[in-house]
Amino acid sequence: MHVASLSRLRVEESETESYQAELDKIISYMDILTSVDTANTPPTTYALPMENVFRDDVPKESLSRELALSNAPDEEDGYFKVPRVLEES
């Protein structure tokens, strides 16, 4: 399932069918939206009409490194440690 890989989730082969069926059912329910005429309707991204909310370019205190790393599953020399990364972004 492509959407599982986009989600970085693994769906076991045994579950694929039931998952698919369930998602299909939900998605097909969503299809009632196709009956709504939205040809002249703009999308709403923000609940409230706000604009231009900015912060001044003034430094604030950072976390101590100890605190920054306090939830790290693995660390090394003040770095967060992960297994090898094969693909460059």
Binding site: R55, E61, R65, D77, G78, Y79, K81
Partner: protein, 480 residues
């Protein structure tokens, strides 16, 4: 078949703000790993971004300085992809409504002017840094992540595929660098990665309109690498096509040590970035009046300055282009000329000895040990005839190490030009007496023999004799 290269650049420039784009952490380069981080840039659960006003100002200025249209309504979007240097696994960037669009800059290559189109400029956050523990990325068992750079503000400047050669691409990137320096929004220190380019290269038969398949090279951070990588890629693609092969659309990496581009591990599926509007950041709305105010606040830009140097000082287009290619150099030039020094001489010295010395010692022009004022004074000494152009080179070399005024150096080192005809006459007589062969040759019609004699006189005077006087005296005496 003749092929034509089609090149487009995506330039990422770090903006010189005090703090990151979405949080108050400092942006200072070179801090100890994971010390410029906070809940926001670490992407901890529950955090929200807040936009640094400076970033928007800088991006708008960059847009205006590159002849872009500023979008009155602009917004941020999430660009989703998984990578450990990206704590949220999305990059906050701009998708369909970037801050600036549809601009251009002018470049000059081999005396020809050309317009390079800008598709867009958008704001985004930089990612963190991966440090690989093994000897290279492929054989290291683990990687370490430093999030100091995460959230440092970037603008991405996307060009149209308007360039046709490595030289054009270089001129374009130099122009972008100059503009960003002029408007003072980026330090443009390429060695620190605050100006870097992703290059797209494709080939097509000359006359063909349709674009060929392109390859991409990411994170090129020197002009040399830019030219070398493009030239290599043009050659490589030409060979592939001439052998009847097909170009594979892929990302390649430039290996400067071997001077080749290499295919990176091919991706299983093309990225599906699933862009969506960033719901945590309200849109940015800029009125026409604000845009005009920003436009008025811009300093003189490289092209205007170049034109001014040409008309005001009579510099050649070539010289004026080089002088204005960096704001610091142009300012240095102004400093030299301000002393009353001849502009053409000033340009020659800046592009010649000064640049050579700066490059050799890896010093930025604004940190030059020879200040603009001093160079101006030295040029003044040449103009007054106190020193010769040749001696000036010696004086300049001394000035590189010695902060004294050139006048003092000339005096202390006894480098004042000998203009006293009597003194020079003595040396001329001596040289004539010692070089009878050359004198004979001259008298027998080999007029070029005078050159050797002039050289001898200059040598004997340790270069201090006024060369014009030497020439005149020699000619007069030999005719006697």
């Amino acid at each position: 078949m003749q092929y034509e290269a089609v090149i487009g650049l995506e330039i990422h420039s770090e903006l010189k703000t005090n703090t990151k784009i979405f949080c108050g952490c400092k942006t200072t380069f070179g801090a100890e790993q994971n010390t410029h981080v906070c809940p926001v840039c670490l992407g901890l659960p529950g955090v929200l971004p807040s936009v640094n006003k400076k970033v928007v100002e800088f991006a708008i200025k960059a847009g205006l300085a590159t002849n872009c249209k500023i979008n009155e309504y602009s917004k941020f979007d999430r660009k989703n992809y998984y990578y450990p240097d990206l704590p949220k696994n999305w990059q906050t960037s701009q998708y369909d409504l970037p801050i600036a669009e549809h601009g251009f800059v002018e470049i000059l290559v081999d005396g020809e002017k050309k317009k390079i189109g800008l598709t867009r400029i958008h704001m985004e956050e930089d990612a963190g840094k991966l440090v690989h523990s093994g000897t290279n990325i492929k054989d290291s068992a683990s990687s370490n992540v430093d999030y100091n750079r995460t959230g440092v503000p970037l603008i991405e400047i996307v060009s149209e595929p308007d360039m046709r050669s490595a030289a054009e691409a270089r001129a374009y990137m130099e122009k972008i660098k100059a503009i960003l320096e002029y408007i003072d929004v980026s330090n443009c220190r390429m060695e620190e990665g605050n100006l870097r380019a992703d290059i797209n290269v494709s080939l097509r038969p000359v006359g063909e309109e349709k674009l060929g398949t392109r390859t991409e090279m990411k994170n090129i951070n020197s002009f040399k690498a830019l030219e070398d990588a493009i030239n290599y890629e043009i050659e490589r693609q030409t060979e592939v096509l001439e052998d009847g092969g097909k170009i594979v659309q892929e990302t390649r990496t430039w290996d400067p040590a071997r001077g080749v581009t290499l295919s990176m591990r091919s991706k299983e599926d093309a990225h599906d970035y699933r862009y969506m509007p960033e719901p945590d950041l309200p849109p940015i709305v800029t009125s026409k009046e604000e845009i005009e105010a920003y436009r008025k606040s811009l300093p003189e830009l490289p092209d205007a300055r170049r034109a001014r140097l040409e008309s005001e000082y009579g510099l050649s287009e070539y010289d004026a282009t080089i002088i204005t290619s960096s704001r610091d150099m142009a300012e240095y030039f102004d400093g030299v000329v301000a002393t009353g020094a001849d502009a053409k001489q000033a340009a020659n010295w800046i592009m010649g000895d000064l640049s050579k010395n700066l490059n050799a010692d890896s010093i930025a022009i604004k940190d030059s040990p020879v200040e603009a004022k001093r160079l101006g004074e030295m040029i003044g000494l040449i103009e007054k005839g106190t020193i010769s152009g040749k001696i000036a080179k010696q004086v300049f070399a001394e000035m590189w190490k010695n902060p004294d005024p050139p006048e003092k150096i000339v005096k202390d080192k006894g480098l004042v030009q000998i203009t006293d005809t009597k003194a020079i006459e003595g040396i001329v007589d001596e040289v004539i007496a010692k070089n009878q062969k050359a004198v004979e040759d001259y008298k027998n019609g080999n007029k070029k023999a005078i050159g050797a004699l002039v050289g001898q006189v200059m040598k004997a005077s340790k270069g201090k004799a006024n060369p014009q006087t030497v020439n005149q005296l020699l000619a007069k005496k030999l005719e006697e």
